[in-house]
């Protein structure tokens, strides 16, 4: 039996350890206190008292319902917008133009997007200023609950604005396969309208690739904290946001109730996913009888325009929010209702950088280390698997996504307890490890497809010339994948910068990043300084993507086949 090169499971083991370790230990560390076992606090008795305390909290039912509904509705609306848009416009120039706007929006951290949106739609926000006082008659900000509204509309909107770019990119990747394009042509030539052709022919083929990201979106949206703190209701707040407050309460006994709450949160997210799966099953069943009836729905012009309008609305809202963030971080004074600041200055920006350089430094260092470690590990894993003639098997693939399918809070509480026990709580290393749990899945997501698409014959041709495995990797595979590897590093950096909850909980206030700082400042009154930190949250990922785009352009200036369109 001619085995090409020896197989190794070391990288798989490391990945499993880095992901399953924190998740399992974290879940255990959440479950035990939830049932009254937390020796640090002298609680050693298995009891249901923490749940009793949890359910006696005022407004708990409302918090639970808010988390469930805002998360589920935001996810469904995002998916509907993305699929309808892809159905109506994929393959057109308009589609390409909108993609160009949506892709960079993916790198915007949730917290920065939420802060930008708040500054846009608040009663004293940019939109109100544009319309006041001439149209609205408001000489001072009106007393309206446009953000933090009790039904969570603003929060849902904020989530939609962030999940649409994510689901869109997942759909784009799925659509980007040659056989999909030819199937579109077949449907069109059989006389099907664009949208009905997409839903009947294309969607059934690409949906399996969108499903897992969609479940991750539901898990995330039902348990989100940063967006809830900035845009969500306050009396009562959605569950996850309240849990963080209890966890940090000086009354340590509240920690037991918070752990019980984290299990309730797990139930809420699981419930939302279950409802979605039921919905998915009934749609599949309903559509199976309609698939072959031959309705072509050729005149879908009005529908297509409506979809485009919705998408343009979301993209403009996001872009405007980011613009407002930029204006605020450069504003010296900006009195209501002036549409633009009276005075501009770099002083707040430079003050933030000068006075707290460690916040900026920590953010970048964490991001770069997380990006390098996760990307190298992913490459190592993929190379080893390819080398052994294997695919990354289904179980490992699923495991890699598990951290994205669980509400973060459900295992972060427990993980914190673990780090406390081994004396790592609040350390840079602990925060880095926590970031890796969430960064690794995205690195894998970004890199496994390009790796799979690399023609394996290049490695073979190099091997027949006597090149060693290391030489093939560093001289052939890695350079050929320069672009996707750099993009993966940029994605990983962006994901790390965007991490709010892991940094907040594991960092314990001692490891502070621009993201935790901006959310902490958002509830205060100082818009300039909040905007500066939110703006920095944008700047770091954007810089990463800009570098990722610039390096190959310079490196491969004279290599036609290495260009983006090749």
């Amino acid at each position: 039996m001619a085995k090409f090169r020896p197989s190794s499971n070391l990288p798989s083991l490391i990945v499993v350890f880095l992901l399953a370790g924190p998740v399992l230990a974290g879940l255990a560390g959440t479950v035990l206190p939830a049932f009254g076992y937390l020796p640090v606090l002298g609680a050693r008795e298995l009891t249901l008292a923490p749940f009793a305390e949890l359910f006696s909290m005022p407004g708990l039912l409302q918090s639970t319902a808010l988390s469930f509904w805002t998360g589920l509705v935001a996810s469904l609306v995002s998916l509907a917008i993305v699929l309808c848009f892809a159905a109506a416009w994929s393959g057109t120039q308009t589609f390409q133009r909108v993609s160009r706007f949506l892709s960079p929006l993916l790198s915007v951290p949730h917290a920065a997007a939420a802060i930008g949106l708040a500054f846009l739609i608040a009663p004293s926000g940019f939109l109100a200023r544009l319309l006041s006082p001439w149209a609205t008659g408001w000489a001072r900000p009106p007393d309206l609950l446009l953000i933090n509204d009790p039904y969570g509309v603003a929060m849902t909107l904020g989530l939609v604005a962030k999940e649409v770019p994510f689901l869109f990119l997942m759909t784009l990747a799925a659509l980007n396969r040659p056989e999909i394009k030819s199937h579109t042509k077949v449907a069109t030539s059989l006389g099907y309208g664009r949208m009905s052709g997409f839903f009947k022919v294309i969607l059934p083929q690409i949906y399996p690739l969108i499903r897992l990201p969609m479940l991750a979106v539901i898990a995330y949206s039902t348990s989100v904290v940063d967006v809830a703190v900035i845009l969500g209701p306050t009396t009562p707040a959605p569950l996850a946001a309240r849990l963080v407050v209890w966890m940090n309460d000086p009354d340590l006994s509240l920690r037991l109730a918070a752990s019980a709450g984290a299990l309730l949160q797990l139930g809420i997210s699981a419930g939302a996913i279950l409802v979605y799966l039921l919905f998915e099953a009934s749609v599949t069943k309903l559509s199976s009888t309609r698939l072959a009836r031959g309705h072509r729905m050729k005149s879908d012009g009005a529908g297509r325009m409506a979809v485009l309008a919705t998408m343009v609305f979301i993209v403009s809202a996001m872009c405007l929010s980011l613009l407002v963030l930029m204006i605020w971080s450069l504003a010296k004074s900006w009195w209501y209702p002036a549409p633009l600041p009276q005075n501009w200055s770099l002083s707040v920006l430079s003050m933030a950088l000068m006075q707290t350089p460690q916040i900026f430094g920590t953010t970048i260092l964490l991001g770069i280390l997380a990006a390098l470690i996760s990307t190298s590990l992913t490459l190592w894993l993929l190379e080893t698997k390819t080398n052994a003639g294997e695919q990354v098997d289904h179980r490992l693939r699923t495991l890699i996504f598990v951290p994205l399918l669980l509400p973060q809070i459900a295992f972060l509480f427990g993980l914190k307890m673990l780090f406390l026990m081994i004396g790592l709580d609040g350390s840079f290393t602990a925060v880095l490890l926590a970031h890796l749990v969430f960064v690794l899945p995205y690195a894998f997501l970004a890199l496994s497809d390009p790796w799979q698409r690399l023609d394996p014959r290049y490695a073979r041709v190099a091997a027949t010339m006597g090149a060693s495995r290391a030489r093939i990797f560093f001289k052939v595979q890695l350079p050929m994948l320069t672009r996707p590897v750099l993009v993966t590093l940029a994605v990983a950096l962006a994901v790390s910068v965007g991490q709010y909850l892991p940094t907040l909980i594991i960092g314990a206030g001692r490891v502070v990043t621009v993201t935790t700082e901006s959310v902490a400042l958002a509830s205060g009154g100082n818009r300039q300084i909040t905007a500066v930190y939110a703006f920095l949250q944008l700047l770091i990922p954007f810089a990463g993507f800009a570098v990722a785009a610039a390096i190959p352009a310079v490196l491969f200036k004279n290599r036609t086949a290495m260009r983006l369109d090749a």
């Binding site: 001619a2 085995k3 073979r460 190099a462 091997a463 027949t464 491969f556 004279n558």
Partner: protein
């Protein structure tokens, strides 16, 4: 050790080679390819041609089972890693590394024993001259025509100093006029260097020009599914 290997016979011997997939025998082959001669293997797609090449080059996927031995210049290489077999491969497409210049592609193949940069550069330049591509060293491989790319790929394969050549329809991507030209070049160089060549093709003209024995693989389509 088998008696055949002790003779230190030059050439490529495929001794009782048989390849199976999921218990089904894809092909059986027992052949000796003398130095400077070509054995042509013909067959429809799906007949196991590529798994034969994979087995000889050392890339057979784990789900395939293979028995028999591959003996190259008197040495059994059946279990030797692909890197150490000294069997050069040319595929349907030239597979020039897109991130390297033409000369870098060629220098990638030159064994590391030749250390001096200038020596490596002049070897690459000579190789280009041999296929009438003088001065193409600094070019972007993607800017070359199909025929030019195939010629560079041939020289790249040869610069690694292989002891045998496997050709997996390397002419199929070329148009009719270039095809004869490039094919002629490949066979004459193989003859000059006394390399045993295994050519896989479904083009009768290829087989005719190669001049050696032709082995036909049965199409699996005749078997019940």
């Amino acid at each position: 050790m088998n008696a055949r290997t002790l003779h230190n016979q030059k050439g490529l011997i495929l001794e009782d080679v048989s390849i199976q997939l999921e218990g089904r025998t894809l092909l059986e082959l027992d052949a000796t390819i003398e130095p400077g001669t070509v054995l042509t293997v013909m067959g429809e797609s799906g007949s196991g041609k590529s798994s034969l090449l994979d087995f000889i080059a050392g890339f057979l996927k784990p789900d395939f089972k293979a028995t028999g031995r591959i003996i190259l210049d008197g040495t059994d290489v059946t279990t030797v890693p692909a890197q150490e077999r000294h069997i050069g491969c040319m595929f349907q497409s030239p597979l020039l590394f897109p991130h390297m210049s033409v000369a870098q592609n060629l220098m990638f193949a030159i064994p590391t024993e030749i250390k001096r940069r200038t020596a490596r550069q002049s070897l690459a330049a000579e190789a280009l001259e041999a296929v009438n591509l003088e001065g193409f060293g600094s070019k972007d491989p993607a800017k070359l025509s199909g025929g030019q790319q195939t010629r560079v790929a041939l020289m790249r394969t040869l610069l690694a100093r292989p002891k045998a050549l496997l050709l997996d329809e390397p002419f199929s991507s070329l148009d009719q006029s270039r095809r004869a030209d490039v094919r002629q070049k490949v066979f004459s160089i193989a003859r000059e260097r006394a390399l045993p060549v295994l050519l896989v093709t479904h083009d009768f003209e290829d087989a005719e020009v190669a001049g050696g024995p032709v082995y036909r693989l049965e199409s699996p389509a005749t078997e019940p599914q």
